[in-house]
């Protein structure tokens, strides 16, 4: 169910990038940043224009046929045996851990299993495959990290998030109290059970504010939209960014 040990390949010459629909629509700069972080290491990045969504929203709502239809379109996009790097624990988790079940008994089952074996969450890829070294060019700042439930439990990449941020010498990294507790987004949950979601995001936002951080960083845009949206609604001054955007900004200098 979750990632405890995984064997990582050597640095490849070329990878696919799956941007995710939330990044596509709301945080495209995070997608660009993720791509740049990979390219900077001398790896070519292929962005198939045919990609859309991993299918998770329908999968989590019980609409498996619809999820499969969309997932199949992604199988068609990522056919070459290249790593697929995904800037989201949630979407990476969908493709890596749920595609095999989604396609069970389907003609594309083998393809789905094959694809799932080469899906990597972005920070996992940067740390475990590319072994990137980061030089912090930014001013001192305190940053709060929110690790999504999928990143933590499904993909097991909490330590990769931390490792990257800890490389930044001028960044004081903090995590909120009850860091392992869900922020209340849960995709359609926030729409279907808004009252419960509201108290969860309220508690999470309060815990993040209590860290005294100037900025919030997360590897998942769903959580980011959720928490930052609430912080803004409350008039709290915290900025929020995807971890890829943050890492790129802090390290790429004036090029």
């Amino acid at each position: 169910m979750s990632e405890k040990t995984r064997e990582y390949p050597e640095t490849p010459g070329r990878v696919y990038f799956f941007g995710t629909c939330l990044i596509d629509l709301f945080y495209p700069e995070a997608g660009l940043a993720g791509i740049e972080l990979i390219r900077r290491e001398g790896v070519e990045v292929v962005f198939p224009q045919g990609q859309t969504c991993c299918g998770q929203p329908a999968w989590n709502s019980g609409y498996r046929d619809q999820a499969r239809q969309v997932a199949r379109a992604q199988l068609d996009c990522f056919q070459d045996p290249l790593a697929v790097v995904v800037p989201s624990g949630s979407c990476a988790g969908m493709m890596r851990h749920h595609y095999p079940q989604l396609f069970q008994g389907d003609a594309d089952q083998a393809r789905a299993i094959e694809l799932s074996g080469r899906v990597f969450e972005l920070t996992e890829f940067l740390v475990q495959v590319l072994h990137i070294q980061l030089q912090d060019l930014g001013p001192p700042t305190r940053v709060a990290l929110h690790t999504s439930c999928a990143a933590r439990r499904e993909m097991g990449v909490a330590s990769d998030h931390l490792q990257l941020l800890q490389q930044l010498g001028n960044v004081e990294l903090v995590e909120p109290e009850r860091k392992e507790e869900c922020c209340g987004f849960g995709g359609t949950f926030a729409i279907k059970h808004p009252d419960i979601s509201a108290v969860m995001v309220h508690d999470k936002a309060a815990a993040i504010r209590d860290t005294g951080a100037e900025q919030l960083v997360s590897g998942d845009c769903g959580c980011l939209m959720n928490i930052h949206g609430h912080l803004q609604h409350q008039g709290a001054g915290l900025a929020a960014e995807h971890i890829a955007s943050f890492l790129w900004e802090r390290t790429h200098g004036a090029d």
Partner: protein, 471 residues
Amino acid sequence: MALTKAEFGQGVRSALDDPQIRQNFRSAMDGLIRKRLSAFPDPDKLERLRLEAAEIRAKALSRLPDLLQQLEHNCTRNGIQVHWAETVEEANQIVLGIMQRHGATRMIKGKSMVSEEMGLNHFLEQHGIECLESDLGEFIIQLVGEAPSHIIAPAIHKNRFQVAEIFRDKFPDIPYTDDIEQLTRNAREILRRKFHDAPVGLSGVNFAVAETGTLCLVENEGNGRMCTTIPPVHIAVTGIEKVVERLSDVPPLLDILVGSATGQPITTYFNMISSPRRPGEQDGPEEVHLVLLDNGRSRIYQDEELIATLRCIRCGACMNHCPVYTRIGGHAYTSTIPGPIGSILEPQKKGLDQLGVLPTASTLCGACGAVCPVRIPIPQLLNRLRFEGVSKQSGKVPGAGSQRKRSEAAAWALWSWVHSHPALYRLATSMAGRLRGLLPNRIGAWTRVRTAPRLAARSLHQLMAREQKRS
């Protein structure tokens, strides 16, 4: 009666708006989370224990019919009378029959979630039989006619002042106190007479060992021993899934059950009952009965994915770690067993048409699955029940399809059509980007507590396409 989304929402809101409930549950769950962590300081060892416990339970389930027969054979040989009940009605009738045969009008109960499932107290009261709860938490809530809100700590939703009020109200002769130790002593005094006088004691069963025909009970208070030792008749009720194969299966399960539930190395008492009083023995019940309840378990059993639900050893860890349960409390679920395990077990027993909203009330954060001592993949099963809820095919789960709404199905059909046709998707998203200024600032419940998300002017697709054009 079906729990509608609106009714569930009302129950949720009343819990969320109650500062007492919020605080009581938050501090209780924080404490239980800490205790479990300190019981298992070595994460690798914990994973090995979980694996072992999961294997023991899965193996027992794979042999369930044979083990039930072996259990029955050994219990019977030892003098325990075994009864089978397909439904809660049958189980209630069996218990009533035993009471009536003995002319008993009173029963003292140890903690039993199965007896809650049966609605036993209410049923027996309708037949003029008084059922008194003796577990302190159950005793407290029985005084005010409430249902348990947690499977291990039934009165977890009450603080000591609320308990003190209840005692003052119901036992006016006892001087008021909100001191926990004194309240506990008062309960001891009140209940001792009841243990002494009761003609029949009832208990649940934590593990039923097929190999030796032994019923195992876990407790800290001693009321379970009282109920199963002092009255001349002992009735044990259990679900059929509680059987384990061998005596040697018990120590590892006991270990991880108690550590997961309360963080203790072991409970004060572990009571292993294999027969009524034997010749020459001075005390112990003269009659011991075991009621095996099905109530949908044999149906759950037949699904090779959902059967994992039956591994549950009722530790409560899943609800202790659930961010939703922590906030809405146990009563909002309206089911016998609340929380994550309740959200997969109860809709399967009662039907998705009755409780289909429960599997949706989760973010699938995975905290439950990560702590379950027998590795039930709760998030996976929640997802499966969501699928069954909206699926047209006649499912393995009663009430399949009952949660399907035409408008939602149509929305997903449209969504999948757009997202499986890339050109259409790119068109739709580029238009959305262009029209983003027209997006309303208020989007339903989302914007009650959050600002609306802002669409980017250009999607990642567009930015990458532009980049490719340049190169």
